[in-house]
Symmetry: C2
Subunit: 320 residues, 2 copies
């Protein structure tokens, strides 16, 4: 097999002629197989006369590596790893409806219909990112659900910092940015009966090992990845474990001490705080300065007259 030949060769060049001879296939067939491997996440340098050299092989999501890395008690101990799925949110929702316990995780190499907030698409190409959904069964009443969105953002930021050294900033409510570009989106879906939360699905999408050329044109100016920020590939299995450890740890703190310590952590790592913001909320446009978090998790915006308005939902633009 072509892949075996390259793996044996460990980084050395192989000419197309040599490969074609060893596999007894045409040069065109060699080229086609290399492109197939490329689309599966393998990378090759191709040079005239020298031929091909494998420069990178994908590091697949691996339940065994994951469970070896987990130091927590429950989050991620039940895990479903998928090669491709429409949306891990849908899979996790189905599992939650079937009674899956808190901490159950669904993760996929690729989402073909990844979703962001407000019905937007979420770009989730094969093997390049962390596209995952975690089932929570919180005891807090419905109207405090926003707090869990913020908690998740803080946890993912901490995991990225610990694993890669990269300091992402949190843009209210749930985007992580590096140098103003989005590297992670969080979407918390909940299913409720009156004020009782049946379950939440915390959807986390992180652009890990994408290169600039991996993005469609419309995303190039607004999106970035951990690889682009750090200059090298990041081990996804390690990062996932770190995220699960951080979420479980903050969630425990939250259940013991309430939202206040989470709010402090959020305020300390937010790029929204003390900035001039323009919020497009369902109730109209609100301009002012982001002044902190309301105890419910809403963003407090101070207008020119010093009045504070809690903003519960909306799209926010940071002004210069």
């Amino acid at each position: 097999m072509l892949l075996d030949i390259f793996l044996e060769q460990s980084g050395q060049f192989l000419s197309g002629e040599e490969i074609s001879r060893r596999l007894n296939i045409s040069r065109t067939a060699v080229w086609k197989q290399i492109n197939k491997l490329r689309s599966a996440g393998y990378e090759f340098e191709a040079l005239p006369r020298l031929g091909y050299r494998m420069t990178e092989k994908p590091e697949p999501l691996d339940p065994a590596v994951l469970s070896a890395c987990l130091t927590n008690r429950s989050f991620g101990h039940q895990i479903e790893v998928l090669r491709s799925t429409t949306s891990t949110q849908e899979d996790a929702r189905r599992l939650a409806e079937e009674g899956a316990p808190e901490g159950t995780l669904v993760i996929a190499e690729e989402q073909t219909g990844g979703r962001g907030r407000m019905g937007k698409k979420f770009y989730s190409p094969f093997g390049k990112g962390i596209w995952m959904s975690l089932i929570l069964r919180p005891t807090q009443p419905l109207h405090l659900t926003q707090q869990l969105t913020l908690l998740t953002g803080v946890a993912v930021r901490r995991a990225i910092l610990k694993t890669t050294g990269i300091e992402a900033g949190i843009k209210w409510p749930n985007d992580l940015l590096i140098d103003g570009k989005k590297v992670c989106g969080i979407l918390l879906e909940s299913a409720n009966e009156d004020e009782f939360v049946r379950y939440c699905i915390a959807g986390i999408g992180i652009s890990v090992n994408l290169k600039e050329e991996d993005y469609p044109d419309e995303l190039k100016s607004i999106a970035t990845s951990l690889r682009m920020a750090s200059g090298h590939n990041i081990n996804r299995n390690e990062l996932i474990c770190s995220i699960l450890n951080e979420i479980e740890s903050l969630y425990g703190l939250y259940n013991e001490q309430g939202f206040e310590p989470i709010a402090s952590l959020w305020e300390a790592s937010s790029v929204t705080m003390n900035r001039e913001v323009c919020v497009q909320s369902p109730r109209g446009v609100i301009n002012g300065t982001a002044a902190g978090l309301h105890p419910s998790g809403a963003l407090l915006v101070r207008n020119e007259d010093g009045e504070l308005t809690p903003v519960f939902s909306g799209d926010i633009t940071l002004q210069r």
Copy 2:
């Protein structure tokens, strides 16, 4: 057919012998067929020597009658009438996920797995009640969802009053009582993305034409029906229309003027107000006097020291 003979006879007695002769079946077969009709909602008086007389025939849910009664613009104009289903909530949820518009109604003659709050069963026998689920797509943020539960309770109470003259009282958050016994339960389920409500399903279950003997023993002391309260059968199609008209009208008021007018209506028709209450909430037991509604829809409970605590969820007991 046996039914045709009784329908022709319009309330007159027919002897078993006569029926057995006209249908050319045995007396035992007559008796069996009458019992079959009874379980389908028909009622018979049986007297020695005179025989049988049909005293009541079921009034089935009828989409044609329903749509003729509706005076509103949209709620209930898309309707699915089912003979039997597990739970109209599940059916409505499926329709909502498929994109059904606000105001879509699912109604069933019988639920085999009707659900109440906190996973409790909801008794929903064939032909005797209103077991229905209405799809709402509110624009209010998630943390105000409780307000819609209260709005629904007010609307159903008004419809019952207008249609039957019976004054039910609202027990916070969403039970309707007659003389301290439950006649209607309301369950509002919501599906959300962050603070954005994708849809709500307002589940409404009303015991309309049940007689005391229709209830299982464990419900006899705590449940009642509109028939038991009024002494006669109530036309379900008319009541359903009235409910849809009331909900649409209050919902319009709510969208224009906010929760305040709804809260006033609720407070005026609640049996919880100004009563000593004991609340079993997820955060512990709260004792005090029900003092009114918090602007979010929570119940304000005043303790001995005069402090007000908003209660968002829980089971409430009214003290003597």
